[in-house]
Subunit: 312 residues, 2 copies
């Protein structure tokens, strides 16, 4: 049985880790100040698929209390990636792999720089959940993961062996997580960005919910134009997303329950926004490939302004 460590037991790490733990996995959670509470009361997950509590739970204040594990799940916000250099090394033995479950593009790069090439998987998560209290996660909807090898900024890092990816897929599947392996993590990342860039960005800049953006003609048109531009950027980077994916995303968003994007929740709560991961890195990749994504750059600059003036 493989062992897992979870770095960042929040809305995402707490949910997926909780499912693995419920299924009996050997799993260890970095929980900081929540660790005492979780040791006493367990890790609670309220989910539309059924509520449960994992008790006892392996909860830790610090990484130096934690054992080395076969897989380390990186589930922090990418804005905290600077902390990884202190967190990852002691958790990994020389056959460990990292699984980066963060939003954005090339969010795996800082993990790869620490753990080495060919040791990193990335997962695109389609999850709607939040942290409701210490050791308490509320899962609202969705939950699918697309998991694949991360091949580096230049696409030339050696791939994590497919049997390793498959073993993780099996562990998560067995725990009840809808998960698929993918041969093209970057394609999956860009497809997700086609939604995340317009709706995270506009929800903050326009101070609007997703349904307000969809139901007001000028913002609906703008969201669609942004999707098109992200598609163009992906294409410049070698990832060919069919044009029909725009319609599919618009249609899907029309049918969503009214929803606040993660970036808007961060902004409203005064937390740093994942501007670099969701906007800055895709812009840099597109620029590198010779494509100037003017609308995305505009939204990026506006978000940076809002973040900078809020910090004053």
């Amino acid at each position: 049985m493989s062992s897992y460590a979870v770095i960042g037991t929040g809305a995402l790490g707490g949910y997926y880790g909780g499912l693995l733990a419920r299924n009996g996995a050997d799993i260890h959670f970095l929980m900081r100040s929540d660790a005492d509470y979780a040791r006493e009361h367990g890790l609670r997950v309220d989910s539309k698929n059924g509520n449960f509590v994992v008790h006892p739970v392996h909860a830790y204040h610090n990484v130096d209390e934690m054992p080395q594990c076969d897989f380390v799940i990186v589930a922090l916000k990418s804005t905290q990636n600077d902390a990884l250099i202190e967190l990852l090394p002691s958790l990994m033995h020389n056959k460990s792999y990292a699984i980066v479950l963060q939003n954005g593009l090339h969010v795996e790069a800082s993990t790869e720089a620490i753990v080495g090439k060919g040791r990193v998987m990335g997962g695109c998560c389609f999850l709607c959940s939040n942290k409701a209290g210490p050791g308490y996660i509320r899962h609202l909807d969705y939950g699918t993961i697309l998991l694949g090898a991360y091949r580096g900024m230049d696409g030339k890092s050696p791939a994590v062996p497919s049997e390793i990816v498959q073993s993780v897929v099996q562990d998560f599947s067995a725990a009840g997580v809808p998960i698929e392996g993918t041969d093209s993590l970057q394609l999956a990342r860009w497809k997700k960005l086609m939604w995340n860039i317009p709706f995270n960005g506009l929800s903050v800049v326009l101070n609007a919910s997703t349904d307000q953006i969809m139901n007001t003609p000028p913002s609906r048109q703008l969201a669609e134009a942004i999707m098109q531009e992200v598609r163009e950027a992906a294409l410049a980077c070698g990832e060919n997303i069919p044009v029909s994916h725009v319609d599919l995303l618009m249609d899907h968003t029309d049918k969503m329950v009214p929803y606040d994007s993660s970036m808007r929740l961060d902004y409203l709560a005064g937390r740093p926004m994942e501007i670099q991961a969701i906007f800055g890195n895709p812009l840099a990749a597109a620029h590198q490939a010779g494509f100037s994504a003017r609308i995305v750059q505009t939204i990026h600059d506006q978000l940076q302004f809002l973040q900078a003036t809020r910090e004053r």
Copy 2:
């Protein structure tokens, strides 16, 4: 001596008209509900160049009380241009000309449609003033006008004879207005849009003053990128503005006193914004010329969203 009518005795029409009146011009002001007050107390202008009161003043509630005039100054906000069809015809005889002193591009088109081709001049005004009360204008800074013949949407309307333009330049000059005639009204309009589009747009979307935009790196960079795109749009429309004009405008804006754009003042006061004149018309002209101005379109859509949701 030529006679003048002023349609819209606000910050702009009240200021320029007031200067003409002080200089003894035969000038008639449409003042709506302010007319009684102005007849009793005069038209008051507090200006950094010296305060004065015009008394008596020819103030009117409605156009049908007003005489026909040689020149009709259109100084309404362009958002009220729908009203021109009711206002202009009775003021004009068959040798009258209209002088459109409004912000934006092709703001003269609705006037031309009423008074006919070859009868319309446009003026770019660089003026900082506001209406402080009934018949009371406060002039803060600047005031230069660039005045030229309006040649229609297609650039093919016959030009107002240059001696007519010159006679207006002389009347305004004699009244103390810094004014120049121009052979290329469109070039002047686009040059002004290079400032108005970034600073009117961003001040509303980012809820920021001009100096805040200039002093925060991401918004400063965005303002400059917008200027560059407006320059590209102008070029596509046949108006070649030197690249150095961007630096000149940035430098000029750095030195301005902290200032709220007219669009931001409109937005904060709950008045309609001049989105069509300042954004929509330039976008349509650029599109017609085969240029897609993505950043300008983005800001346009965001402004429309803000206007639409405010109206709800």
